[in-house]
């Protein structure tokens, strides 16, 4: 029962505006990345932008994912703005 949490990471503009680089949250049974975003957005303040604001990209365990992708205990879920590398 050591893995009943998941890790949430934020990058770039989101990391700065949320003032948060990483969170550990309880893993909540049948949950999608979109559910997680909605729960975080309901914190209000800068967190509200996670829903209905600028586009938010999602990665689960370092692979691109969609709002409907399931997340489970032990996962690393990341939220970030569209990438601008190169």
């Amino acid at each position: 029962m050591t893995e009943q949490t998941l890790t949430v990471r934020f990058f770039a503009r989101l990391r700065e505006e949320l003032g948060t680089e990483q969170l550990t949250l309880p893993a909540d049974g049948e949950q999608t990345a979109g559910d997680l975003l909605a729960a975080l957005a309901s914190r209000g303040g800068p967190w509200a932008q996670l829903q209905g604001g600028q586009p938010v990209m999602i990665a689960i365990n370092q692979a691109m994912a969609k709002p409907g992708s399931p997340v489970k205990a032990g996962d690393e879920v990341a939220f970030f703005p569209p990438v601008t590398g190169g």
């Binding site: 990058f11 770039a12 370092q62 990341a78 569209p82 990438v83 590398g85 190169g86």
Partner: protein, 149 residues
Amino acid sequence: MISVQTEDFDAAAEYAALRDSGAGTGAIATFTGLVRDSGDTQGVSGLFLEHYPGMTEQMIAGLIEEASRRWDVRKARVIHRVGELLLQEQIVFVGVCSAHRADAFSACEFIMDALKTSAPFWKKELSESGEHWVEQKASDVARGEAWNT
């Protein structure tokens, strides 16, 4: 081979290593990106580049694999810098060697376009008036998607 690093790179040494990759090589295409004033902001002095360690390297490896399935790729090299970079510094290097010219060009351009649209890097422009995150360009997304047709 893939490197994500804060240090600068030696494009000449990278070219020499690509060239030294066997008798079947007839073509080497390289691309280097430099920090440029985007023209959107006054007095830009440089960039700060953030990335997602681990995921970045995995995604780039996937891009090289995909390029190798689509074209003849004898060797590919990708270097992407992160951290603070001044104007005119080198940001990114993509080098591909192939038996054939068209394959070298296509694979190099495909990897470079995909780096812009798929790999988890984010640029912040540093200027006299402060700093701001660069927005993704629709033209880059379109170029990335064009390879899927």
